[in-house]
């Protein structure tokens, strides 16, 4: 494995052109997709895997995924349901897959971080400790992607 830490991971992601960033983002989110049952989230990730979606389609998918993100926030004062919160972060990661990139942003890095947060929420929900191997797995995914 050539990528060993987050600095290298981030630097490699930033160098990717937008289409490949989306594909990388989709691969990261795909790993945690089972934590969300929302079809809008799945549709965004599946489209991002293609990497070359038309602008109009991207916009529609973005709106739908963003609605899923907003609807899945835990409201102030409500009891935290960490399994549901994992779904919220998957939705957030899916938004990164289909959002329009702003300067200075890395869609794939954001998606990777939200996907890791989803995994963390899952571990809190299951009460199994907070060690996850998500980061290492993401390094491997990116390594593979860079080879193609």
């Amino acid at each position: 494995m050539s990528i060993k830490n987050d600095s290298e991971f981030k630097a490699a992601l930033i160098r990717l052109e937008p289409g490949r960033q989306r594909r990388a983002a989709a691969r990261f989110v795909e790993r945690v997709l089972d934590l969300s049952g929302d079809v809008r989230v799945r549709a965004a990730v599946e489209a991002a895997q293609r990497g070359d979606m038309p602008e109009a389609e991207r916009e529609v998918l973005y709106q739908a995924a963003n609605t899923a993100r907003v609807e899945s926030f835990t409201q102030c004062g409500r009891e935290a349901d960490w399994a549901a919160q994992a779904g919220h972060f998957v939705a957030k990661a899916a938004v990164s897959c289909v959002k329009s990139p702003m300067s200075g942003e890395s869609l794939a890095w954001d998606a990777a971080m939200h996907a890791r947060m989803a995994r963390t929420c899952q571990s809190v929900a299951q009460g199994v400790g907070t060690e996850t191997r998500e980061a290492e797995i993401q390094y491997g995914i990116l390594d593979e992607l860079l080879k193609t």
């Binding site: 600095s7 835990t74 935290a80 907070t130």
Partner: protein, 422 residues
């Protein structure tokens, strides 16, 4: 009369202190408070007139503490407050009051209506008429220490996530640190970026700071439901933690009511001065800015505006600080109409956002924020309260306005010179 109603009425009688008695006597029925309340202005329903929301309490005041009121009660001309009536008033005193303080500010005779609502809520809670959502939050606060049921392992999980993301250690229980940072439940659950931003900013400012394992939670649902004893327990936990760690300053997070509870009411609740200073995160950041301790580069794209959280600007006086900070980030910054101390609430403060049955009314009230935003043409909405942030997002989503909502602290962190060079 049921036992709970009896208890509630007794508490309400006790709550009627000199200020409340004088407020009821001073009210000139001018209706200015109605025009200041977004639940009235956006629905047009007169039942949402702020002073009317206190009607059962006013009757108790008259019947118990005025000669004419006592006579009217004795002759049966003035009816006693009933359980049904309080149940009916639940919507008025919780769902449609965010304790934003706009009504108190415009009252020409200086009646602090928010103070009265707080006291009324004490009686409502005791008589069993507080909304389920807020009761649940309160029970979790008593049992777990957090209204949203956040326990230390969840905070530690977030700490680990943030440490991995930014490659820095997040200090926990560091004795003698300059600052103790509190988090709101909302930040722990929904916005890990806040903690990440704090760590990066503190590093650049060269300040020592810590989280406290026994007092990480800032949210004070005792203030929201109207139970002073609970509010006191929550404040005491923070005071104990801060004094044990010997910190100089406790930083209240991007949460409106947490700031009010700790900064303005906490010392009175525990009955003694603190051994440390309390500041809102925006006050701290502005001090860092003025001292040249934080350096940013680049600007946000497009037009930005700032939503003033009510508890910060109107009840806390934190007005200049966010504007000074916005200048570091925005080339094109525009104020909303009525910005600053007369700003309109997001519609979800004071525990209102935890009340499921109030969701529809919140969206009606949001029409005011919508029109404020439309007047600016802003492309990004910045704020400094995690609760406002979610309520704003929901409102924007409902009215199909595509305006991203971001926290001021995290946005500053994104522009730190150090981070951009890393």
């Amino acid at each position: 009369m049921s036992a709970s109603l009896d208890k509630g009425v007794r508490v309400l009688k006790e709550m009627i202190d000199a200020p409340i008695a004088s407020y009821f006597n001073s009210c000139v029925h001018c209706g200015l408070c109605a025009e200041a309340c977004l639940f009235y202005t956006e629905s047009g329903d007169p039942k949402y007139t702020p002073i009317h929301k206190l009607e059962p309490m006013r009757r108790i005041y008259e019947q118990e503490y005025t000669l004419l009121g006592r006579l009217a009660k004795w002759t049966g001309l003035s009816k006693p407050v009933t359980d049904d009536e309080l149940e009916q008033w639940k919507e008025l005193v919780y769902n449609s009051c965010t304790m934003c303080g706009r009504c108190s500010l415009v009252c020409p005779v200086g009646n602090d209506i928010v103070y009265m609502v707080r006291k009324f809520r004490e009686g409502m809670a005791v008589s069993g008429h507080a909304p389920e959502g807020i009761v649940g939050a309160t029970q979790r606060t008593i049992q777990i220490g957090s209204p949203m049921g956040v326990r230390l392992p969840a905070v530690q999980a977030q700490v680990k996530h943030v440490e991995a993301e930014i490659g820095m250690n997040i200090p926990m229980d560091a004795e003698g640190a300059e600052y103790m940072v509190l988090l709101s439940s909302m930040e722990i659950i929904n916005f890990p970026e806040y903690l990440s931003a704090i760590a990066r900013i503190m590093r650049q400012a060269g300040k020592t700071w810590t989280l406290c394992s026994t007092a990480f939670e800032a949210t004070n649902s005792g203030i929201q439901i109207g139970v002073s004893d609970l509010a006191k327990v929550i404040v005491s936990r923070i005071v104990e933690g801060a004094e044990r760690l010997k910190v100089k300053t406790v930083i209240s997070p991007e949460c409106g009511h947490a700031y009010t509870a700790l900064r303005w009411e906490g010392a009175n609740l525990i009955g003694r001065p603190y051994g440390f200073k309390v500041q809102h995160i925006l006050e701290v950041l502005d001090e860092f800015r003025a001292a040249g301790l934080i350096r940013t580069e680049g600007f946000e794209e497009g037009r930005l505006t700032f939503h003033d959280p009510c508890q910060l600007v109107r009840r806390g006086g934190v007005f200049e600080q966010p504007r000074n900070l916005m200048k570091m980030l925005a080339k094109d910054f525009v104020e909303m109409p009525d910005a600053g101390k007369m700003n309109w609430c997001c519609g979800g403060g004071g525990g209102a956002s935890a009340i499921e049955e109030g969701a529809e009314l919140r969206l009606v009230a949001f029409k005011r924020k919508k029109s404020q935003l439309e007047a600016t043409g802003a492309q990004t909405l910045v704020t400094a309260c995690a609760n406002c942030r979610i309520v704003l997002e929901e409102g924007l989503e409902h009215y199909q306005m595509d305006i991203p909502v971001v926290g001021l602290t995290e946005t500053i962190a994104e522009h730190l010179v150090e981070d951009r060079q890393a």
